[in-house]
Amino acid sequence: MTKTITLAKALAAVVPGSSVAFGGGGIQRKPMAAARALATADVGDLTLVAMLGGPEVDLLIGAGKVRELQFAFVGFDAFGLAPHFRRAREAGSISVVEYSEATIIAAFEAGAKNLPFLPTRFGLDTDILTTPTAPFRKIACPFSGEELLAVPALRPDVAFIHANIADRHGNAVIIGDGYADPLLLQAAKTVFVTAEKIVDELPDDAATAGGTFLSRLWIDGVIEVPRGAGMTALYPDYRFDLSAVLEYQKRATDSEWFSAWIREQ
């Protein structure tokens, strides 16, 4: 039973108002091909979900596709801030729900467990609890009475994860840092994996054996997209494209440059 599909077919699962999540972190292993395709698709009013957002989030904000962003971080790691995200926030043109890393992981983990919430201690006593959109509630431990934070489950409608390699059954392997992807995978209602390469059977070699295995039982479709992480890095396939990253940061808010860039796929 093959789960190999096209990117177009995967994108069709995103409808106006959908919540769409992206794996990877910062400028590492971002599903850039999927995000760029989504930016030119006829669908908007999206809620984006990303623990550590990067250019994929920024370009969708720039393309006007985003109503709300649920995030713990958006940036280009050591290479600076995200231009469209900055501009949109400073203009007040998108809604945001601000998590921390551990609280958004708890939200994914609640989804992965098919539970409505999970308790955590992370985030207590900080201002992520004080924002008008904060989704958290304080609860008391039913045994000890300790004050804890209840984090409601996040169940994104569609998640895109980029992997190094996948098989036709829908299994995939991430060789580098898995970030929150294994939990996002389990929390999302529909999951698409873009992979550099789709093979008949995953190799059982040292390179993939130390990686993060994503089971076909969680995955609805796999799409072969060479260089699917675009200008972000995919260990060990390619480093990030530093000139492209720096150019994007400089020029992204130039609308002419940006609309040409978005289409150049």
């Binding site: 926030r89 601000e98 551990a102 000139s243």
Partner: protein, 277 residues
């Protein structure tokens, strides 16, 4: 006395804070280099997760812009983020956070400048700081430029909580206290009156007056203020030859910028950079 840069002084000072059998997480270049220096010098069983969780518990290597390529060979485990936060929940984290704002009671902010609802400047978001607060003995901070906009009376958004509530209500698990702070002027802690900021040492040539002038509130100072210890020859050798031969630490200096980045990139990859930028 050997010549040294400010960054080398900071790395050397920061490295002194690590203990063994716990993680030393390098989320910024300086914190990463300081953890590597600590492991190379005096904390051989420091657990490094520099650059990538997939190459966790690696040996000391030269720092690179893309660390995975160099660290993977000696990384002992693929540390999932879930397990990392379990380790953090057990107090096994040590981290120097590069903060944007820090206030007199040690609260930190990397999320927004100005009102959260419509910020004057959107930064990166709270990231892991609200979490580290519940997994460290203390949260240590570094700040590149000590001035009244970075060291402030009160942060605009609390990512890491400070001492203004005396540590909060009694709880089974204690939240981290603000620990040491290093800036381009000196080293500070929060043992001043009401657990407010206090001068621990001043970097060579820096006066207390300059610190007060550059700080958005009055920093507590008492008695004879020591000078921050300067890096030893062995520390400088390790920094320059072992952990940062390419000189990534310069990104944290006034030299930082796209040109330096491109130069480092070329050294690291060996390939000439395409003239796209």
């Amino acid at each position: 006395m050997t010549d040294y840069s400010l960054e080398e002084l900071l790395i050397s000072r920061m490295a002194k804070e690590f203990r063994g059998n716990a993680m030393g997480v390098g989320a910024t270049i300086l914190s990463d280099l300081s953890a590597r220096l600590a492991k190379a010098l005096h904390v051989p069983d420091l657990f490094l997760t520099t650059g990538s969780r997939a190459a966790a518990d690696c040996d000391v290597h030269a720092k690179a812009l893309v660390d995975e390529w160099t660290l993977a060979a000696s990384g002992r485990m693929n540390l999932s983020w879930q397990e990392m936060f379990h380790l953090i929940a057990h107090g096994k984290l040590q981290i120097w956070i590069g903060t944007v704002q820090l206030d007199q009671y040690g609260a930190s902010n990397i999320s927004v400048i100005g009102p959260w609802a419509k910020p004057k400047a959107q930064l990166v978001g709270a990231r892991g700081v609200p979490d580290d607060l519940w997994g460290c003995d203390s949260l240590c901070y570094h700040i590149r430029r000590h001035n009244p906009r970075t060291i402030v009376a009160k942060v605009d958004f609390v990512c890491g909580r400070g001492n203004e509530d005396g540590g909060g209500p009694a709880r089974p698990v204690r939240r981290a206290k603000p620990g040491l702070v290093v800036t381009d002027l000196g080293v500070f802690d929060f043992e001043g009156p009401g657990d407010s900021m206090r001068v621990v040492s001043l970097h060579p040539g820096v006066t207390l007056e300059r610190v007060q002038e550059k700080t958005g509130f009055t920093v507590h100072a008492e008695g004879e203020i020591p000078v921050t210890p300067v890096p030893t020859a062995e520390e400088l050798r390790l920094i320059r030859e072992v952990i940062d031969p390419h000189g990534l630490r310069r990104l944290e200096s006034n030299e930082g910028g796209d040109e330096l980045l491109m130069d480092l990139w070329q050294r690291e990859t060996g390939a000439p950079v395409e003239g796209r930028a």
